[in-house]
Subunit: 318 residues, 2 copies
Amino acid sequence: MADIAIGLHGGCGTLDRSLQSEAEWTEARQHIADALRAGWAILANGGSSLDAVEATVVVLENSIHFNAGYGAALHAEGGHELDASIMDGRDLRAGAMAAMTRTRNPIRAARALLESGRAVMLTGPAGDDFAAAAGLDMVAPDYFTTERRVKALASLKARAAQGTFAKASEAEKHGTVGAVARDRNGHLAAATSTGGFNNKPIGRVGDSPIIGAGTYAADGVCAFSGTGQGEIFIRCVAGHELASRIRYGGQKLGEAAHDLVHNTLGSFGIGAGLVAIGPEGDPVTPYNTLGMYRGWITTRGEMVVATHGELHALGAVG
Amino acid sequence: MADIAIGLHGGCGTLDRSLQSEAEWTEARQHIADALRAGWAILANGGSSLDAVEATVVVLENSIHFNAGYGAALHAEGGHELDASIMDGRDLRAGAMAAMTRTRNPIRAARALLESGRAVMLTGPAGDDFAAAAGLDMVAPDYFTTERRVKALASLKARAAQGTFAKASEAEKHGTVGAVARDRNGHLAAATSTGGFNNKPIGRVGDSPIIGAGTYAADGVCAFSGTGQGEIFIRCVAGHELASRIRYGGQKLGEAAHDLVHNTLGSFGIGAGLVAIGPEGDPVTPYNTLGMYRGWITTRGEMVVATHGELHALGAVG
């Protein structure tokens, strides 16, 4: 039996501490803890890593604090196009959805597609139609819209009009959620969900629904979910690059993940972060920005949650 | 100065010789030769591999014989959704389009997106809107429809209704076009374009527009374009897998490409093929099906075209 473990990220960025109140930071950490517990409960009961990462990402999608599902970023015309993907390291099965607008939890749609064998990736209205036929919760497109994202979009557009786009807080622009897990049978899985970034062009697909770029899992090697400017993650095939450095390059997970974020992805001048896990040991969460929402439960059942440099040790999970 | 070379595939499958007349096989080989000459002319004039693969794929898109652009496969409702991507090995820039319906040459749209820096990937109507704004040739959606694809779809649906889907010729189901090239500066590039497969679900995205899966290029390593059941190429991250076996695994291009097709992809029970090129030498074109439309021009300027086992040496290119 393998040691179970789970980790997640809730997006990286400048995460200025002044952007929200202390109560909001506390609530965000609470939601991270809730998400970890949801996945851990499955793993502790002997469930699969695939079920665990889905359950963890659902909690993050349902939280206002993260750019996925409810509270997702708004595209340039003020609506939402949601992307998600999930991969099972046991047999490399995968499901990916791009540009969803009506499915409450895009990660559930990706999982249902994985199970269906109908395709690995669907885009546009067909993805929502598939989700509805699969019996998933459907919502009106404005379900996802929150006041903070509307304000952020207005702020971004105003600054763009003033030519000061470069000064916009990165926290307003990016963010994605993702999870990785290892179950008792040693199987690895990864899941990622996102609203993209505020003011993104309609139709733009980032790395989150791209297997190999934003999400990847292969038993015996690693499971991966990324956050940062998706275009660079796609061009670097970031998830599969991490796996390849381990599988063929002989690197350890920690060093390979650190090098990928700080040197490979960082060399493009972007903010980048990831969560990854290997066949043994605890998740790693390197990032090169001021902060990254993240958390994990170690093989000894100890939960850790963080948004910036300092770690909040929340003790043993029941 | 590097030795220039170019290679292409026009899709793999059972390619029953009885499926079309000898005149049609001859015309298909002629179009392959035309496509190779279009790319070679650019390379021979000192142009870039990126320009060359785009020009080559445009010729294949415009030919009735290949499942891309004009003559593309029909989806389950009788229309077309076209996918394409292109990648520059020099700097890993890439452009990808999914589910296009109105752009005459999807590969030109992918190239324009690459140059724009606006995004790496667009899906749905936004891709066509981008192409139109970029000044590309736009067409009515039925421009792509040919009698042979309409008949093939009807035949597939009839057989599916009779429960004999498994006997349908693979040639009716799959097919994709792609090209790789190396220019005088040693830069590598790859491009892929497809209509997917006949009777595909609406919204289904295969590997062709997925950077790392159906298309990949990195200078000093390889350029790659794949053909076959896209879902497996996505799950195996086939293009980047080939590059990783060379870069980190120390394999040679030829052995890595052969192993990828016959063992890795073949282990899933699918038909698969690819064209790839490295920093030196000629393109390789392994496939595990009865045939694959393919052709290349060697570093010595000799053109070879083939559809099945026998090679047609067409002599030196002027």
